[in-house]
Point group: C2
Chain length 383, copies 2
């Protein structure tokens, strides 16, 4: 079936070794020999068998990336950036879904693709510290997001609590007092949601308000439909109790925010006049919404770049020198102010601004330079 290097060597009248060298572009070969082998390769339509090469070298050039669901805009954009970066390092990305399920996260982290990929980039949602500690796979792992983990793995995550506080502070600074939170986790097992909720709570407390649980709406999922449903429920609940409706919403991500905005419109509430809305992630969708969405913009491209860089560094560790120490990197985030909080101010109907260039952590000068600096989150208004 497949034509192997042996066939090529035979045809070219050289040894296997020589053919191998030609194919791998080794120098020190008589041009005539090289020529002959190359011709044989062409005539036979030889294609190197990567699997065999990998078995020999112990490396596959593959990286597994595991996210809850690529169909979710944030992860689609993140995965896209990771794929591009990985390609620049000659790596291919194997994309896995965890569905945000604890079991599937555990499976992936314990090497579902054992020996297939050289390393793993994981966006854990529910995985706990002890699960990672008990990890039964030795392939390099880089964690993305999800707050604090005291584990011996590289971990790249913005400061969710601080970011949430920035968002809430922005709303408070606009004079909003009844700031709702959309997208809490039902069972509190969703780490990220929990951190952002904590930020909401802390900032309100700091402002002297008592955070009311009546203003917290939990959701099952993370999609637009979930945001719409949660907001609808929250409004109904408040009204049925004769309580005033919130005058601001901080949503756990952009899609929840957009869904919530849909619900607000259905109830005749205007954004931002009646209710100001802030999202999280700065997905492109929010930038072009009819009322463009104010949001927290994590430095996604830095996250992707750092994830790949760290992983590749670990994969290509020579095994001799002291192993690279696990790092905790906190990329910057930015508050991007758009119409959903300040309306069509100033420039009137200007196109939605692209996100302000997000904070750039000190980047490795070249491929394998480390980036161990811990950067404080930076919040910056963009008007």
């Amino acid at each position: 079936m497949g034509v192997s290097l042996k066939d090529v060597a035979l045809r070219a009248g050289v040894s296997l070794r020589t053919a191998s060298k030609v194919v791998n572009g080794s120098p020190h070969l008589r041009p005539a020999t090289r020529e002959r082998v190359l011709r044989a390769v062409d005539e036979l339509g030889y294609r190197p068998n990567l699997t065999a090469r990998h078995l020999r070298s112990g490396r596959t050039g593959l990286i597994t990336m595991a996210v809850p669901d690529v169909a979710r805009p944030y992860f689609a954009e993140l995965a896209g950036a990771v794929i591009e970066t990985a390609a620049r390092y000659g790596r291919t990305v194997l994309l896995d879904h965890t569905g945000g399920s604890y079991e599937r996260e555990l499976t992936v982290c314990n090497g579902a693709r054992s020996h297939l990929a050289d390393g793993l980039i994981l966006s854990p949602v529910r995985l706990a510290e002890e699960d990672l500690r008990a990890r039964a796979d030795q392939a390099p792992l880089v964690l993305l997001g999800g707050g604090e983990y005291r584990v011996p793995y590289d971990h790249i995550a913005i400061d969710d609590v601080a970011a949430a506080r920035t968002a809430v502070r922005h709303l408070a600074s606009l004079g909003r007092r009844r700031i709702a939170f959309v997208g809490a986790s039902d069972d509190r097992a969703r780490r990220e949601a929990d951190l952002r909720l904590r930020g909401w709570r802390e900032e309100l407390a700091a402002a002297g308000t008592v955070p009311s649980t009546a203003l917290v709406a939990a959701t099952d999922g993370r999609g637009r439909q979930d945001g719409l449903a949660a907001m609808t429920r929250l409004l109904a609940r408040q009204r049925s109790r004769g309580r005033p409706v919130p005058d601001a919403v901080f949503a756990c991500n952009d899609q929840l925010a957009l869904g919530a905005m849909r619900a607000l419109a259905q109830h005749g509430l205007r954004v931002p006049e009646d209710v100001a809305v802030v999202g999280f992630d700065d997905t492109e969708e929010g930038r072009y919404a009819a009322v463009s969405l104010t949001t927290i913009a994590p430095d996604t491209s830095a996250i992707a770049r750092l994830a790949v860089t760290r992983l590749v560094e670990r994969i290509s560790w020579d095994g001799a020198s002291p192993p690279p120490a696990p790092v905790r990197i906190t990329p910057g985030h930015t508050l991007v102010v758009r119409e959903s909080t300040t309306g069509r101010s100033g420039t009137g109907r200007a196109p939605p601004r692209p996100a302000a260039p997000a904070f750039e952590p000190a980047a490795p000068a070249h491929a394998f330079a480390g980036c161990q600096s811990r950067q404080p989150p930076v919040a910056r208004g963009t008007v």
Copy 2:
């Protein structure tokens, strides 16, 4: 470093063969033996080396999926569906970007990942028929979208021309007469854009209108920004010439449509009162837009399912029986009518409807049953 089956066998005091059998769950083994091996596996923390297994079996269990860019919502949703389906068949998806570039499409189709993946699912944008004919890789290939290709490969694509005509007909039926097209291909090399443009042209001609090139806006990319820019240009051009502004827009995809809507708002034009808008793809984003987007909904989940099914069938072909004939499958599409063409009619502020259940082509009864029926595209209003 890694612990191999040999180590396990040694530890359990059995032969390699036996250990292999246990690991692969073969029957006919003395329970005691099995027990002993399993214990050794546990104690040593053995993980099978998939690369080696693959080298031996000639199969890797991997499927490459190549799309222009997963960050684009349609491809994110499609890739998500493919990943889920593939997982059900025990396959893993290796995701590649082509960037919609001709060269990269060519590279991928000619087996950039030779022998690494068992098969390829490709969404070609610019690849021509002759490129596919001259394909230098024998791994099974399933094509997705992009109109007609007279090539010996499975090809799953809705009828773009008919779908576009349906969209335009809908606009015409609402009394719109100056129907613009947003998202034409600059160099006509983008097959899909060209087909949809043709549909626009044909339907207008059928309605007795002369399609005016002044109403066609080409774009470089396929994103929201491109739609916004194109629409802005088109409006400026029309106005500068003292020509009336269009009263409807058919965009080549949802993101272009959403960008165009942003531009219309900036020019003080209301949707749908002044300008009705129809998109293409039925990405979730359009369903929750402030003015929800009327669109053409391809049966994405059927496309994903069929793609994986066909590919797996070909991969597991025994080599003996007559090879499965290449099929051309035309999944259904649906016109989903939402607010961007008919406003908040009837139900007032009802939530945007989920897409109507799209037409379902006769599906394989079980995993490997063929689905060779050629289904006519079905357009169905959903009010």
